[in-house]
Structures are given as structure tokens and as C-alpha cells.
Symmetry: C2
Subunit: 212 residues, 2 copies
Amino acid sequence: MRQAGSTSSPWVSRRDRAAERQSKRDAVLCTAVRFFNAQGFHATSLDDVAKALSVTKPTIYHYFSNKDEILFECVRLGLETIRDATEAAHSDGGPARDRLETFMREYALVMTRDFGICVTRTSDDQLGEESRAKFRALKREINEGLQSLVEEGMRDGSLAHGNAQVVAFTVAGALNWIARWYRPDGGMSAQQVADHTVATLIHGLIPRAPAS
Amino acid sequence: MRQAGSTSSPWVSRRDRAAERQSKRDAVLCTAVRFFNAQGFHATSLDDVAKALSVTKPTIYHYFSNKDEILFECVRLGLETIRDATEAAHSDGGPARDRLETFMREYALVMTRDFGICVTRTSDDQLGEESRAKFRALKREINEGLQSLVEEGMRDGSLAHGNAQVVAFTVAGALNWIARWYRPDGGMSAQQVADHTVATLIHGLIPRAPAS
DNA sequence: ACCTTAGGTTACTTGCGAGTATACAAATCA
DNA sequence: TGATTTGTATACTCGCAAGTAACCTAAGGT
């Protein structure tokens, strides 16, 4: 727990205390997201989460102002990872198709992890006013990033022409769905799932060589 | 309301009364599913639904034994349409690829309608014991049907070789996602969305002719 | 005329879980 | 040493919505 506090004196102060607070906050999120994914948000009481951490509910309220905030922080962690990947895909060089592929793989991997799973299981009616707005904004940002990547690829000829919006949603849907069916103990690694799913989307269902 | 009662005598009886009861049941489902889709299941109270129908809550309990049953009937209506389409796709003749394509289009269309939308917004933690089991069974049946169709296509050469399970989930994910983004007033008809999405999945993202 | 059943109402119970008031202990600060 | 801040617990409030009890009315069967 007591991480990187230069000297390991018993007098932990300022920076260290802040770090400890942060790590406890994180612990709440990690525990909460597992419950949310396993039982659903509404079916999870903060007493459940508290008990799993061997504390009581008011302790949780010491780190978060309400249940909404906890859920939002979970989805934020998932979404920001993906958003950062879109940004990387845009600033990198090379043909759009390659950048898209890299992005898709990263996206798929996030969907095999707790916070990513939470994103797809959360619908915005579970969040209050303000969180909902931020949640939607993040999702829109990601979708626009994905769509503009697709458009770029259609323009530079590395992707087949078509309705970029539909293509973007098709990709997003297939990738998001991973969160619903992937099980770590199911014979495939997360990486394999990501690779196969991306390959399916890229190459399509029908054979390449001699179209029927 | 008084439908097809042969003569339109004021003495409605037996069969007609049963039909009327059924139509009221259906009205509850139609109203409820709209609320569920708009606000989420938990955020919808049966008082809301009752008020929208200009009746009171106990009236609803006259047609359904609890809230679970209402939700389950909604998803059942959506899922059974899809399941029937899988069965049709299996019993029809012709190359598997064509049957798969027809099935996908039908699936996509269901996802633009209320009961289909409800299916993807419902996670099984919202249902009680028994309904949950039936819900899962239906979904599994559909997925197995889809997957075996894919396997058949890979065998007869009308579909590209690959991991049939991943392919099935990729298809299901892309199609299910339609329920999350399609808006009837968004410039595309349901049919167009279905066609474009299916085409994207079938042909893949990269161009067919001169692969870069 | 009378009983029964269907469909509906008003008014209630009830339980769960989010969020809070209050108190307490330990450590840091001055 | 005393004051203040931080983290935690115990024990509560409180509102909402699911589900129920009891009652009413009208129509159909006999």
C-alpha cells in the first residue's frame, strides 16, 4: 500500500496521504465494478460493496458523494482508455486502415476488462443529470473519432466505400458485444478474441478469392 | 376494440371476452416496453404504466402476476421472432450464405422495433430465477442457430473460413447494436439500416478488388 | 330475483437501500 | 498539551415503488 514514499518513515504526509486516499478510492471502484458487472448496478447495494471491503457504507461516502459518482467513475475509466486510443489513431501516421485496425484491437481488449465491461452494461438512464451528460459526451467523442477514421480510410482508398456512420456503428457494436460474451476461462485469450473479431470485421463473412 | 366477433351483438361472450382480455394484456406490454426502453426497467414504476393506460396499478396485476412477468413477456416477443427466423433459415433450401443473409436482415429489422430494442436493453440480472432461465435458453437457442448456420456456410464454401463462434458473436453484436443507435427519425429507414449493416458484415471493411 | 365472476378502484403494508447525524479514535499541527 | 483534521463506525431517517386487502359495480348464467 505505502507506495514510493521516498523514505519509509512512519511520518507519512501530504503527498503520501493523498496517494493513500487515491488508492482507497480505486479499491472501491475495483470492487464496485465487479459487483456491477456480476449483479447489475441497481441490484448492488453500497452495503454489499462496503462489506466486501470490510468497511461500512459511510466510509464509502467519505470517498464518493453518491452511488452515481461511483458508477460514473467506473465507466469513465473504461471510456477514457478508448478515447485515448482514438486520439492516438488520429495522430499516428500511415494509412487509415492500419490505424483503424490498431484502434479496433485496443478497443476490443478494453472490452475484456472490468471497466470496459461496465461501459457496455451501463445505460444512461442509470446516471443522474450531470454524469449522464459527461457519459454521453465521451461516447459521442469516441464514435465521432471512429467514424472520421472510417471516412478517412474511404477517402484514401484503404477502406471500401459505404455509409461511414453505419460502418462505424457496426464496428462499435461487434466490439462492444465482446464484453457480453467473453469469459477469461473460455479457451481463448483476450488477445485472440480481439484478433479474430477484428479480422472478421476487416475481411467480411464471404470468401475473398472466388466470390460465389 | 371489439374485433371480428362475427355478429356485433352486445352479448360478447367466451371467445370474445378472452380476446378482449388478450388485447388488454397486449396493450400493457406495448405501453410498458416503451417506458422500459425510454427510462429503463428499474426507473419505470407500474404506476407510470398504469397512468399511461388510464387505469390503476391493481388493474395491471389483474393481467400479470408481477413486474418480472411483464418484462419477460416483452423480451419473449422480441426473441421469439428472431428464433422463428433462425428456424426458417435452417429449413429453407439454398446456399447457407443466402439463408444467413436473409436471417441477418430479419434480425436487424427486429432490432429497430420496440420489443427487439427491449431485448438488448435487458440484462438477465433484472429477471427473477425462472424467467431468467427461459430468457437465457432463448438467447442460447438463437446463438446456436446462428453459429450452426455460419458453420454450414464455412463447410459448403459460401462463407470464409474462421472461428465460427467469434463470427457468430461479431454478427450478433453488430446487429444487436442497431437497437442502441437507430432512430426512426434519423434519415434512414429501418430497411436501409438493415441492408447497410448486413452488407458491411458480409463484405468487410477493406475493398474487394485491389487490396492495398 | 339471485349468485358468481371479471374487471376495476381506493387505500394500505412493507421492505429495501440510499443517504445522514452523530460520535469516536488516531494522528498531525501549532 | 490542546486543537484540528481524517477516517471510521453505529444507528438512524426517509422515500419510493412493489405488491396486497378489501371493497365496489355490472354483466351473465340459472
